[in-house]
Subunit: 406 residues, 2 copies
């Protein structure tokens, strides 16, 4: 089945494109530059929901609350602030996150158990919760179908541009829509790293299947990217499905299931790629393919070892065909290799054959490295499994941003 | 026993300070800037020897040869080049490394099996071995007691200054001397990472005990430092003990054993600290202590997670008391933590108590972070084990050096 033929990208679509969803983003006083820092997403009807969260053992207060809310309840609203992570804030932080939930429920006239909450920004600073609550009071009057773009702006931190998308496809002969917003930037690593992603959908679906579809999509997208190897305390990917498209139930393994899975994966992969392209200070998007591996686990280990190597990433920034650093990173990944079997390609240019460099290719690869999108393929020549990981180059700008000096 | 009282640092001492050793370093044509790039260390008598090498599965040709030579033979000479790693160079690389060994044996009139070889520099470029062999012919005429400093210069790559030291102490009532040279800089990570260390000693000792002492010293020094988390293909730490001090045999567990262990550890720790201080682009030396751990293994995992976090390292460069990044790194280290139990200190200033920041301390910590040597202590409050790791900050200059742009 050619999934792409069944999925239509909706021009200027976003988180409010599916039926029954409204949203908006405003400035409530958290970001010093006066930009949007508070976002509210609302569904007219209670939505079946699922979420995937950070694996960091230090979890932000809102993550703890979402995990609790999602265990039992249908969801009608998500309140998200940027500019403060409300992480490592102890009992006060948890109280503040609950205050956000309750204030949102109150202004929308829904139950507190129907509200999810998320935060992103600096860790360890007390949330100025009064500002946020004032903001929630204002937001309730402005949420609308037109507020999708402002929502995307309001969840940004160091992102260079907002990330939003919506898709349309057919399920059970009904036209259904899937939309979403996402933010990323630094601290991106498998298992999600300060990224927030909120998906909305008007499909009718069982919670269990929805969760499975989201988890698969996250594993094939956000969990295959890295910017700096750090993982955040706040990572959240949530999907709300409010059933307003009126389709009948979706059976596991059916072609409807396949189309929906394809659509959720498509949007997650799109966001994942945009996150890496927007990696702090990044000048190049880099795809690392490890092929010819005995197992997927080994391929993934090797791919992340290369993708997280500061030396590989700085060499790519420097447009330097320094494949030795790639070999060295594979060698330290902990997997079994046979050095004499390894081939390496920069784009389609084979630069290493059987563990040894092909010098005449270097000038060609130097030119190839001038591009904005770089692909490295490491063939272990030991088996048939493969994994691809997205990363970006490491630049002086990354350091300046994270040292607070840019 | 106060070891430091038993060990004397010899002013201007180095690799030729112990009896019977001579050395020198010259330019043979590998470094484009005309600086010293070839070093020869020679012992008048055959030396009991031991070595510790990279754990990277991609090993440079000279590493393979040293491991073979050290299995059986006493050693009389070490030939080392900088400016080319002779790694990932296939069968040709191995041939070239053997040519270095044989040329050295020939000019010194010793056997090939008595020669060790090491290389450091860029990976994957064929070694211009004729230049090296011409250099070896010249070196044989200039090795002397006065050549220690030039030897230290000749093994440098991106180091800012040469690293050398010699100690004197008493074993079996004889005055013995231990000297050495070392190089480090980028790609430094536990299990040694492009660092080379050559120790010479005039002590008389059994090979087995010598190896044990070297391994312990390396574990407590070079294996507790990190610059960028990458590990090299060429790491080598070697000790030669030629017996010329005339002491009787050293018993395991004796006070003589303890003094020698202390001396070897002292010199290795000194070099390890200098390597980190010289980390590529580093402006600050950073000590990460993890205390209150249930096990040493967990403490080490947490310490390296913090020491290798790009976000922690850039924050320290930016003099930013961003302890949230420290918490987050500990949370992703894979060890079991109780967030509410964690205390964090910057120097002696407690900035986090029970997982929550103490805001009034931030201005004090900002001032503390202006210093050149920074110490972070993370108390897990779960047990009694502790580990300290040395690292440095991550700076725009690191990126420029490794992108070939500085």
């Amino acid at each position: 089945m050619d999934l792409l033929k069944k999925i239509k990208i909706i021009k200027n679509g976003g988180v409010t494109t599916p039926s029954g969803f409204s949203a908006n983003g405003i400035h409530c006083g958290l970001k010093r530059n006066g930009k949007e820092d508070l976002c509210l997403i609302f569904s007219e009807t209670a939505a079946t929901s699922a979420g995937v969260f950070t694996t960091n053992k230090v979890k932000a207060a809102p993550v703890t609350i979402c995990q609790k809310q999602l265990k039992h309840n249908k969801i009608r609203a998500v309140i998200i602030n940027s500019g403060n992570a409300n992480a490592c804030t102890g009992k006060n932080g948890l109280d503040d996150a609950w205050k956000m939930v309750k204030a949102t429920a109150k202004v929308l006239n829904i139950e507190a158990k129907e509200v999810l909450v998320a935060s992103t920004g600096r860790i360890g600073i007390k949330l100025p919760v009064e500002k946020v609550i004032n903001g929630i009071n204002k937001l309730k009057d402005v949420i609308s179908k037109d507020g999708g773009h402002n929502s995307a702006l309001a969840i940004m931190t160091t992102d260079l541009y907002p990330k939003e998308m919506a898709l349309e496809f057919i399920i059970d002969k009904k036209k259904v829509r899937l939309g979403g917003i996402c933010k990323g930037a630094g601290m991106i690593h498998p298992n999600m790293a300060t990224m927030l992603c909120f998906l909305t959908c008007d499909i009718n679906i069982e919670k269990k299947l929805l969760k499975k579809i989201l988890e698969e999509a996250v594993n094939n997208s956000f969990n295959l990217i890295t910017v700096d190897g750090d993982r955040s305390t706040n990572d959240t990917a949530v999907i709300l499905a409010n059933g307003m498209a009126g389709n009948g139930s979706i059976k596991e393994g059916s072609s409807d299931h396949e189309v929906l899975s394809g659509a959720v994966s498509f949007i997650c992969r799109f966001f994942a790629k945009e996150i890496v392209r927007n990696g702090e200070g990044a000048t190049k998007l880099v795809k690392i393919n490890v092929v010819g591996s005995k197992t997927k686990v080994e391929a993934k280990k090797a791919a992340f070892a290369v993708a997280n190597s500061s030396l590989v990433k700085t060499a790519i920034f420097g447009k330097d065909p320094n494949w030795g650093r790639v070999m060295s990173a594979v060698g330290t990944s902990g997997i079994n290799i046979v050095e004499e079997k390894i081939d390496i390609y920069y784009g389609k240019n084979k630069i290493v054959a059987g563990g040894v460099g092909i010098e005449k290719v270097y000038p060609i690869v130097k030119k190839y490295l001038l591009g904005r999108e770089i692909e490295l393929t490491i063939d272990l020549n030991q088996g048939k499994e493969q994994v691809s990981v997205l990363t970006c180059d490491l630049t002086p700008e990354y350091v300046k941003i994270n040292a607070g000096k840019s």
